[in-house]
Amino acid sequence: MSPLTEISRPPLLEARGLAFARNDEPVFGPLDFVLHTGEVVLIEGDNGSGKTTLLRVLSGLLTPTEGEIRLHGAPLTLDLLSPQVALLSHANGLKPELTALENLRFAAGLHGLRHGISPPTALAGVGMDGYADVPTRRLSAGQKKRVALARVLLAPVALWLLDEPYANLDPEGIGLVNRLLENHAHRGGAALITSHGAYAYTSGTPRSIPLHARPARDLTGEGRPRGDGLPGHSLGDDAGLSPARPGTPP
């Protein structure tokens, strides 16, 4: 993609002055960032810095207290948002009584199916092909996480919001998440992922995925005056304009 088309096309996701407060207590923000297609951006911050809350705001589950979110340049509404976003949260949204495959079939019915993928192939894609008929409650935490990732993989959406996708995963699983993210970015998707202390993991990431962690001063909130002194984080305005982009999205 040439720089010219990049400027002329509105970014996939854009946040301006985004802030969220719970009972008048600020949780995060104000934040400004841009997410273009083909990008994977890491939201980094300490425990309690509002990473999960930010993802819930961006997914539309929570309404921001201030600021605005634009999706493809248009102000965000839930109707506009939900067909374009897949959320992986701490509660992975799997029914323990159903098998892995049944869970994915239901997700496919609810959210639709990405072209060229089916529940069994998604399960194979996360290395769980031998577990299709095992009830999810018998799976380990890491295996459940893989099934939940397969659910995200199925959804025909451009934007992935993954909360702690690396939690509970073995090194091979961490590599798998990075591969899934890379593929998603290559086919024109984008992802926001949270992780605390994720640098240990992301150092093993293929170079082609730029995980835009902020410089250290911004991660600790020093780059932006904050009255409450809580550790904050922000994604920069330039998050989408890094030269280190993956291959041209289709």
Binding site: S59, L61, L94, E97
Partner: protein, 227 residues
């Protein structure tokens, strides 16, 4: 998103909820056993005189089924809330109210309908008069979906709280009172050979209103609970 894909989503949700009930089918019997025990307590407490029991039969069955339904109500959204499927439901591209209507329908079908089927048996325990039996069944068929719909709104409001059982009962029971009055009223009228159509029609009218309004209110309440 099209109407076709919404239909697919509703079908997937109905199939999933029915599968879940089938996998936990041991639990499905509990409301019936509860209603049976409550009804059996009355002859034990009041004595076995058929005349006394016949007079209170319809009212007791109504209250027993209402309480059994109340106990089953909490399962409507609880597990979905805890395992995160509820937020996936909210995030789906389909109208939330429609999906919730499907959930409520499945819940009614699997908890209230077995109770209605068991109602004639409960009637035998209390010497229910023969002419009252069809009126009781008609009243229950109209009243129980209404109870499910009203209850669903309250469950949606309280699902985010821990140990919400008693609060839920306090919220729901006052709202159940009119349904009880019209339902048991129709049965009492039939027992006294009086016209009983009017209270049944009132129940039907309220059911129509609730069918339209309750899923919307439920969706709004759930969004509040999830934020």
């Amino acid at each position: 998103m099209t109407a076709g894909s919404t239909l697919i989503a509703c079908r997937a949700l109905v199939r999933r909820d029915l599968t879940l009930v089938w996998r936990r089918r041991g639990d499905a019997l509990n409301p019936i056993l509860f209603a049976l025990i409550v009804v059996a307590l009355f002859p034990l407490a009041l004595g076995p005189e058929p005349e006394v029991l016949r007079r209170i039969a319809a009212g007791v069955i109504f209250v027993a089924l209402l309480l059994a339904g109340l106990l089953a109500l909490d399962t409507l959204f609880r597990s979905d809330y805890e395992d995160g499927s509820l937020e996936q439901l909210v995030l789906s591209p389909h109208p939330l109210a429609l999906l919730l209507a499907c959930k409520i329908a499945v819940h009614w079908f699997t908890t209230a309908l077995p109770l209605i089927v068991a109602a004639p048996l409960l009637g035998e325990l209390l010497h229910l008069a023969d002419p009252v039996r069809p009126v009781l069944l008609a009243a229950l068929l109209l009243a129980t979906p209404l109870l499910s719909l009203i209850g669903a709104i309250c469950v949606a409001l309280t699902v985010g709280m821990h140990r919400s059982g008693m609060l839920l009962a306090l919220l729901v029971l006052p709202l159940y009172v009119p349904v009880l009055i019209f339902g048991a009223g129709a049965c009492n009228a039939a027992g006294n050979a009086l016209p009983y159509a009017a209270p049944l029609l009132w129940l039907g009218a309220a059911l129509v209103v609730a069918l339209v309004v309750a899923p919307l209110a439920c969706a709004a309440a759930l969004r509040i609970s999830l934020s």
